[in-house]
């Protein structure tokens, strides 16, 4: 690891100032991704400012939802009573990610800022436009079994790895950020992460020096019918091949409102708007779920080694919707044990 300057920020303004004056500086949350990247020389910031002692570690109720602190840990968030009750989709998604140890360290803001797990990105001797713009994409014609089927470009076919963010996309979260001079702004979750286009080195629309203070979740009536489904190569501690965050509200058997987002398929959480549109106001039936899933996957563009993801994603949408409809509860084994 290259030498770097390290400091603990006393308050948000100091943290933001420290980062703003140094283009090479980074905020440090739990460090569960950044430090790995530094050890392997993929990233080499000259300065880290520890923000985990700032006052953004809580979860508060607001007039129309909740505010989740940027420096609250994933574990704290997932297990928070209010989140479990009102946003079980978020709890399920967080608990589907990483390991207990990592969730204890990782912060919510850090989760949104984590980098892709594409192995060409991590190997500094391989071409990667995200790491070294202009060097080429190793995965495009390489081993791309785990890569994108939506929204990729010739420059980058990586996927965004977070589970938490897939749920946040489905729940229409809003990211609150603060910049210098106490300037504040909000970013709708759909606009937070970017597709790779010609600038895959830019993961999201956060500007240098902007600090994520909290993530707002608006009120909804999805709690009874939410499900996060993650398909992976082992039972836990693996990134998604495909994941689906599904939430709906029902009037009897009719779908009043619905949210579907996919993980493991694109450079950002992929909101399945085509499927949502087809289902709002329709009967919640397997037949309708299948039609909607097919409509969403119609536009998929698989690569050489990930054609399986198209069928898998379609089946995963149907299964997640069905489990959400049936109110299948928590736990990685919930589906297996219930035999559904």
């Amino acid at each position: 690891m290259r030498p770097f300057k390290y400091s603990n920020a006393a308050d948000p303004a100091a943290a933001i100032t420290a980062i703003s004056v140094n283009a090479d500086a980074k905020f440090l949350g739990g460090g569960t991704n950044l430090l790995d990247l530094m050890k392997e020389d993929v990233m080499h910031p000259s300065e880290l400012v520890n923000i985990t002692r700032l006052k953004y570690a809580d979860i508060e109720k607001t007039s129309n939802g909740i505010l989740i602190g940027g420096t609250a840990t994933n574990a704290f968030t997932a297990n928070h009573e209010r989140v479990r009750k009102q946003y079980p989709l978020l709890t399920m998604a967080i608990l589907a990610g990483a390991s207990a140890q990592i969730r204890n360290m990782a912060t919510n803001a850090g989760n949104l800022n984590q980098r892709t797990r594409c192995s060409y990105f991590y190997d500094v001797n391989m071409p990667c436009n995200k790491r070294t713009p202009g060097s080429g994409c190793g995965a495009l014609k390489g081993l791309n079994r785990n890569h994108a089927i939506f929204g990729w470009s010739e420059k980058c076919v990586a996927v965004y790895p977070s589970d938490m963010a897939v749920a946040l996309a489905a729940l229409d979260a809003v990211v609150h950020v603060e910049a210098g001079n106490q300037e504040k702004r909000t970013i709708a979750f759909a606009d937070f992460h970017r597709l790779p286009g010609s600038t895959p080195q830019i993961d999201n629309n956060l500007k240098h020096g902007e600090l994520i203070t909290s993530i707002e979740l608006p009120e909804n009536d999805f709690a009874a019918h939410s499900y996060y489904l993650k398909v992976r190569e082992r039972s836990s501690y693996a990134f998604a091949l495909v994941s689906v965050a599904a939430a709906m509200s029902l009037d009897g058997s009719r779908i009043r409102d619905i949210r579907i987002a996919l993980g493991g398929v694109a450079h950002k959480p992929w909101r399945a708007t085509a499927a949502e549109k087809l289902l709002v106001g329709k009967e919640a039936t397997m037949a309708n779920f299948k039609v909607a899933a097919a409509a969403e996957l119609k536009n998929a563009r698989p690569l050489e080694h990930n054609k399986y993801k198209v069928k898998m994603a379609g089946d995963a949408i149907v299964r997640a919707l069905s489990n959400a409809m049936n109110g299948v509860g928590y736990g990685m084994n919930a589906g297996l044990e219930a035999g559904v």
């Binding site: 991590y122 081993l143 992976r232 399986y308 995963a316």
Partner: protein, 760 residues
Amino acid sequence: MSETGKPISRIDGRLKVTGKATYAAEFNQPNMAYAFPVRATIAKGLIVSIDDAAAKKEPGVLSVISYKNAFRLKPMDMQAQMKAGAAFLGENLLPLQENKVHYLGQFIAVVVAETYEQARTAAYKLKIRYTEEKAATDLKSELPKAKKPKMFMGEEAQVNEGKTAAPLAASAHQVNHSYSTPVEHHHPMEPHATVAVWDSTDKLTLYDATQGVGMTSAIAAYFLGLQSENVRVVAPYVGGGFGSKGLWLHTLLVAIAAKAVGRPVKLALTRQMMQTNVGHRAATIQHVALGADTAGKLGAVRHHTDTYNNLTTFFEPSGKQSLVLYQAPVREVTYNVTTLNRGTPTFMRAPGETPGTFALESAMDEMAYELKMDPVEFRIANHTAKDPMKGHDFSSDSLVDCYRIGAERFGWSARSMEPGQQRKGKYLIGYGMATATYPGGRSAASVKVTMTANGEVTVRTASIDIGTGTYTVLAQTVADALGVPVDRIDVKIGDSSLPAAPLAGGSQTTASIHPAAMEACVLLRKELAALAIADPSSKLNGRRLDEISYADGKLVITGEEKKSDAYADIMKRAKRTEMEACATTQPVSGPGMTVPSALCTPRETPPEQNSDIKQYAFHSFGAQFAEVWVDQDFGTIRVKRFTSVQDVGRIMNEKTARSQIIGGVIFGIGAALMEATEYDKRWGNPVTRTLADYHVPVNLDVPPIDVHFIGKPDPHISPIGARGIGEIGITGVSAAIANAVFNATGKRLRDLPLTPDKLV
């Protein structure tokens, strides 16, 4: 025998869980520097230049060493190396001696600095230029260049080539398919590490994560031009090896680095280096053909393997079990081996049998379906009690019991022959089974037992505990052989200055060191008895040696309990503060996996340890049963329960033995469902770079595993009656799982691992 066999917990367990067991990288030395190796970024070519100007300017850097300035090692010479017990280099390559690159990741330089991070940062700053040559990176495209090796580890490699064509063609039923297995990496929990300390210009100590201290000492001494007794290798605790902890280049590299800077130096490999520099199991493409008659009797077995190697004569011997299992009049086992520019393939837990049983035992399942026979009954119908090639009886013949007991414990009778018949919700449920087998072996070993007048016993041998329980079972054997409690026995192993023992590989440690330990105890008791018999104040005075037995730290006249004399009393009266005896286990043939120079000379010739050893074939056998649940949409496979019944001879410790089988089965679940290192053929680099990409089972992937031992001592392998147990647990597991997946889904998967994309 009261202690042997008991399920006692590891005597080193407390040290391990409290962090007090010292592993190689923890032997910090005063004034120690750190080395970080630099790896080649091309798969084949020549280094043209190394610009180290920027690296040398980094703070703390002490030295940058490459082929330009490295200490010259003695060149390779296989004949001379064999004489010196220095033949088993992991790869036939020496570090930093020339500018040639043979594979991506090869160590081509090393940076030494005051701290680890300084060394690593400076290593990033080396600028290396190459002339690149076209590398061989893809097995399939290199197969046309493959050769047929004549020998494998001293045995004929090509057996009965072409001899099965006619009998196969004439068989009423034939199965003929190709099965492929991927590159796998050992990935022991403890990464390889070495601390090198030059005690003087001709004396070196290496604290090394190794499976063989004697072997490492001999090899390091040979290439560094030292006497092997002047290279002390210390490895009291090793965090797993699975075949990867032979001698690899980093151990020589750190010795070179320590010599260059004149200070002790530590070198610990990163997880990424463990993918390129310490061996792997090579990928195989296996073609298996079986012929059977209408009654279900096998007429011919053919097993051909296509694979590769690099910088070694070793290749994955995946036809091994096909020379051992089942009665078939003709069997043909052949290999085609090509070369790839990839780090060197090596031994990995049950080398040969792990991928080989996947192919053979899948084919056996396919034939059972072809014949509409129950797979268990099909195997029993073709069981052989003799080694089919050598004609010798197996030293124990309980495989049919393994099948029967396994089927009973598992509930095999509930299985439907027709695939796809059992389901629960979205899950298709299937049962599968396979045969497990691994050779039994025994190498030369010496064990010294010392007793003090205070009743403390120390056992010494240059063996290794790679996590298997060597410390514990050795204490149990000596406790019984001397009649003293386990907690009075101090076991000292993992040090090349101790009497020689084989490297911990080939499932041979127990069979090798225990006969010697027992014999040393016999010698010690005899010497004590001689003292007592000659001592007028002993109750044993004047009695005959054959009247004397032992119990509870005493010698006793058999049948006259009151006539006894405690070891301590005998020694005190004889004014002996310490007594010792050393004995040697004879190998089955040759020294086996032991460097013979350090064997102790027994003070009297031990009785023939088993005169009939040449008349038997030594193999362990078992039966593996799996239940899988397959998600019909996603193709995800869960092993829901597993039964493993094993005939491995006497069980020395029911707990550590069970752990070995459980560990083997889990390793097999990994091989079946998820483990694979993938390479990008454009560059020859491993793309699965971390344990986040290279999946091994997590707890939730591990079902309840029912382990049962036949437990009958094998009287022929040694007086102890135990064959090895470290490897057989993994064999047959991937076939049992793949066969269960077929039973669940009707889909026959012949390409490991069975990841969801292959079933969707």
